[in-house]
C-alpha cells in the first residue's frame, strides 16, 4: 500500500478553499449587483410616481387658481348679485371703522409728506 502524499493532499485543499472563496465573492458581488439593480429600478419607479404626482398636483393647483380667479372676477360677481337681486354700493363714510388715521394731525406733516414724495 502506497504511502499517502500529504503534501499533495494539502495543495488540493488549498485549491478548494480558494475556489470556494472566489465563488463566494462572485456570488456576493452578483447579489450586490442584483440588489443595486433592483434598488435602482425601485428608485426609478418612485421617481416616475413622484413626477406623475407632481404633475397631477400642478394641474389641480392651476385648476383651482382658475376657479378662484373666475370666482373673483367682478363681472361674474355682478352677474351673481344681479341674479339674486342684490345691489351693492360703497358704505357710507360714517359706517367705516378705520384702523389707522387717515390724515396727518398738523400741517407740518403735510409738508413732510410732500417733501418725502420729492
Amino acid at each position: 500500500m502506497a504511502r499517502r502524499n500529504r503534501k499533495n493532499e494539502q495543495r488540493g485543499n488549498r485549491f478548494a478553499v480558494w475556489g470556494i472563496g472566489i465563488i463566494t465573492i462572485l456570488a456576493v458581488m452578483m447579489g450586490l449587483y442584483l440588489r443595486l439593480c433592483s434598488t435602482c429600478e425601485q428608485l426609478g419607479r418612485k421617481i416616475k410616481e413622484q413626477e406623475y404626482l407632481r404633475a397631477e398636483m400642478h394641474k389641480q393647483v392651476v385648476n383651482e387658481q382658475r376657479n378662484w380667479s373666475m370666482a373673483c372676477s367682478i363681472v361674474n360677481m355682478e352677474r351673481m348679485l344681479a341674479a339674486q337681486g342684490i345691489a351693492m354700493t360703497f358704505p357710507e363714510q360714517k359706517n367705516i371703522i378705520r384702523l389707522k388715521p387717515l390724515e396727518p394731525a398738523d400741517p407740518l406733516q403735510y409738508a413732510q409728506r410732500n417733501s418725502a414724495r420729492d
Binding site: 435602482c40 429600478e41 428608485l43 426609478g44 419607479r45 421617481i47 416616475k48 400642478h58 394641474k59 392651476v62 385648476n63 387658481q65 382658475r66 378662484w68 380667479s69 373666475m70 373673483c72 372676477s73 367682478i74 363681472v75 360703497f90 387717515l102 390724515e103 400741517p107 403735510y110 409738508a111 410732500n114 414724495r117 420729492d118
Partner: protein, 565 residues
C-alpha cells in the same frame, strides 16, 4: 424531423446573433430603445397689483382618434355618435374625421378641459386617445385685453405684456434622454441626460383689476351714450407714474383672439397719435407762468372771437372780450392761448414741450407705443405757434397728455411710466422691480400749484368741464375738442374729444385721461369725455379710499401759495 429542422435553424440564428459582430443590428435596436423628450413648461402668470390672476396656463388635452383602429373594429358610426354627443360637436364633423382609412392620428377636439377629457376617457373607446397640452387662459376675458395681449397657439407672446415680456414669461424647456422597455415605457433608472426645465416667471402689473373694471365700464357706457368710433382712457398714480388702468374700446375676448381683427386689437391709449386740441393749452400756460412771463390775473384781449396772426384768422368757439389767464383756461379761449404762446416764442415753447416728454415714447413696457409728432422749430411756419397753442399741428398719445397733467399734479416732476411692477421667478426670486423714477422737472412746484388752482375753475360753474366734477372733491382738469383731418382738411363736425384731470386738486393722487374718437351727436370734450371722467373717478376715489382735502389741509396749501414769491 421538421421540428428538429426548425429548432436547428433557431439555434443557428441564435448563435449567429451572439457570435457575430452585428453592429448595424445592435445600433438599430439601441436607437429604437433611446427616447429623447423635450420637457415643456407652462408660461408664467400675469397678475395685477393685488395678486389677482389675469392670465395663466391651463392643462388641457387634445382628444384624437386612430381611424385605423376604429374602422377595423367597425365602430366608426357608434364612436362618432358618442363623441359628438359627449363633446357637443356636429356628428358629421366627427364622422368625417373618424372615417379616414389609413390615417393613424386625427384631431377631434383641441384644448378640451381636464373634466371633458376625463368624461371621454371613462367611456374607454378603442382608438380614442389623448395628448396633454397647455392652453393660455384669461379668466376675465375682455378685461385689460389691450394691455395683456395674448400668446398664440404655439405659446409665443404676440401682443401686449405677453409679447413685451415673453422672454420672462415663456421659461425654458428641459431635455431628457433615456431608454424604454419592450412595452415602450420609459425606464427612469436608465436616464442618461436630464436638463431640468425652468418654468416661466410671474409678471406682476401695476394695474388694479377693480380700477380697470370701473374704467372699462365707463368706456362701455360712453360707447353706447356718445356713439364714438373708438374710446380710450388711462388711470395713473400721479406720484409714481404707475398705470392703474388702461383700456380701449372696442375690446375683444382674449380667449378667442384669433376671431378679432388688428384694428380692434390696437391699444389706442399708446398706439394712436391724435391732435389733442385745447387740453394742450395747459402746457403752454404752465410754460409761460414758469418763465415769469405771465401771472394768473394778467388780462388778455380775446378779440371777440376773431384774431389774425401771420395773415391767417384764428377763431374761438364762443367770442370773448377781455379774459384773465384763469379765464382763458376756464373758457378754453384759443386766441388767449395763442397770444400767450406768441409771448413765449417758438424756441422756449418747443423746449418745454420736449421736457413734458412729447415727441418721444414714454418707454412703458408695452409694444406699439407711438412717439407723437412734434416737429423741430426749424420746420414751424410762422402761424404754427398759434395752432400749437390750441393743440393742432402736433400729435400726441393719450399717455403723453396724461403725463403732462400728472406733472402738474406732481409738483412739476415728470415720472417715468410703468405698467410692470415686478417679475418674480417660481422660486420667489425677484428678477426685476420697477421703482418710481422722475425723468424731468419742466416746471417748479409753485407753477404746478398755480396751474392746479386755475384748472380747478374748469370743472366749476362757468367752466367747460363742469360735468367732470365729482362730489366732495376739487378736480383740476381741462377739456379738449380737436377737429379731425379728413382728406387733408379739418372737418368741423368730426372731432377727437377729450378730458384729462387730476384729483384731489390740492394734493393730486390720481390722474385720468379720457379720449373719444368722433362722438355723435354731442361732440365737445366737456359734454362727452367729461362725464366719462366723472364716472371713472368717483368709484375709483371710493375704492382707493382717497380722502377729500379738509379745511386745515386746504389752508396749508393756500398759505404756501401766498408765502412764496
Amino acid at each position: 424531423m421538421l421540428l428538429l429542422a426548425a429548432w436547428s435553424g433557431l439555434a443557428v440564428r441564435l448563435g449567429m446573433l451572439h457570435l457575430n459582430d452585428n453592429v448595424k443590428l445592435r445600433d438599430r435596436i439601441q436607437r429604437m430603445r433611446i427616447v429623447q423628450e423635450e420637457l415643456r413648461v407652462g408660461r408664467g402668470r400675469v397678475l395685477d397689483r393685488n395678486e389677482n390672476i389675469l392670465a395663466l396656463d391651463l392643462p388641457v388635452k387634445d382628444i384624437r382618434v386612430d381611424p385605423v383602429v376604429v374602422l377595423s373594429n367597425g365602430q366608426a358610426r357608434v364612436i362618432s355618435q358618442v363623441l359628438a354627443r359627449t363633446l357637443d360637436l356636429p356628428y358629421k364633423q366627427v364622422y368625417d374625421r373618424v372615417n379616414r382609412p389609413g390615417r393613424r392620428d386625427e384631431p377631434i377636439m383641441r384644448f378640451a378641459t381636464e373634466e371633458v377629457a376625463d368624461r371621454v376617457a371613462r367611456l374607454k373607446m378603442p382608438g380614442v386617445f389623448f395628448r396633454s397640452q397647455t392652453m393660455r387662459f384669461y379668466p376675465h376675458t375682455t378685461l385689460a385685453c389691450h394691455v395683456l395681449g395674448f400668446s398664440n397657439m404655439e405659446g409665443v407672446g404676440s401682443a401686449g405684456i405677453e409679447q413685451r415680456l415673453d422672454s420672462y414669461l415663456k421659461g425654458r424647456s428641459g431635455f431628457r434622454e433615456s431608454l424604454r422597455d419592450g412595452k415602450r415605457h420609459e425606464l427612469p433608472d436608465r436616464r442618461k441626460i436630464v436638463i431640468a426645465a425652468e418654468e416661466g416667471a410671474d409678471v406682476h402689473l401695476t394695474l388694479d383689476m377693480n380700477v380697470q373694471y370701473y374704467l372699462e365700464k365707463a368706456l362701455d357706457a360712453a360707447m353706447t351714450n356718445f356713439n364714438p368710433e373708438a374710446a380710450w382712457a388711462i388711470v395713473q398714480d400721479v406720484r409714481t407714474g404707475f398705470i392703474l388702468g388702461m383700456a380701449s374700446r372696442p375690446a375683444y375676448d382674449l380667449n378667442i383672439f384669433n376671431e378679432t381683427g388688428p384694428d380692434i386689437r390696437l391699444n389706442r391709449a399708446i398706439g394712436v397719435n391724435y391732435e389733442p386740441g385745447s387740453v394742450f393749452k395747459i402746457g403752454v400756460v404752465a410754460a409761460a407762468i414758469n418763465e415769469g412771463l405771465i401771472a394768473t390775473n394778467d388780462l388778455f384781449d380775446c378779440e371777440n372771437g376773431m384774431w389774425f396772426y401771420a395773415g391767417r384768422p384764428l377763431k374761438d368757439f364762443h367770442p370773448y372780450g377781455i379774459l384773465d389767464v384763469t379765464g382763458i383756461l376756464r373758457k378754453s379761449s384759443n386766441i388767449g392761448a395763442a397770444k400767450i404762446a406768441v409771448m413765449l416764442g417758438p424756441e422756449r415753447l418747443y423746449r418745454y414741450l420736449k421736457e413734458y416728454g412729447l415727441g418721444r415714447t414714454t418707454g412703458i413696457e408695452l409694444p406699439g407705443e407711438e412717439t407723437g409728432i412734434l416737429n423741430p422749430v426749424g420746420k414751424w411756419a410762422k402761424v404754427d405757434i398759434t395752432r400749437i397753442a390750441m393743440g393742432h399741428t402736433v400729435a400726441v398719445t393719450a399717455l403723453q397728455m396724461l403725463n403732462m397733467i400728472c406733472c402738474i399734479g406732481n409738483d412739476g416732476f415728470l415720472m417715468k411710466n410703468h405698467i410692470v411692477r415686478k417679475v418674480v421667478d417660481k422660486d420667489g426670486v425677484v428678477l426685476f422691480e420697477n421703482k418710481p423714477e422722475a425723468v424731468a422737472r419742466p416746471i417748479t412746484e409753485r407753477t404746478a400749484a398755480l396751474m392746479r388752482q386755475m384748472l380747478m375753475e374748469v370743472t366749476r360753474e362757468g367752466g367747460t368741464g363742469t360735468r367732470a366734477a365729482i362730489p366732495g372733491f376739487n378736480v383740476a382738469g381741462k377739456t379738449g375738442t380737436a377737429e379731425k383731418i379728413q382728406d387733408g382738411r379739418y372737418v368741423h363736425n368730426a372731432n377727437v374729444s377729450s378730458f384729462m384731470g387730476i384729483f384731489p386738486a390740492e394734493r393730486p393722487e390720481i390722474g385720468i385721461v379720457v379720449v373719444l374718437d368722433n362722438p355723435q351727436p354731442l361732440r365737445t370734450g366737456g359734454v362727452t369725455a367729461g362725464p366719462v371722467f366723472a364716472q371713472i373717478a368717483e368709484p375709483v376715489a371710493r375704492y382707493l379710499d382717497i380722502q377729500p382735502v379738509n379745511a386745515t389741509e386746504m389752508g396749508y396749501y393756500q398759505r404756501m401759495l401766498e408765502d412764496e414769491p
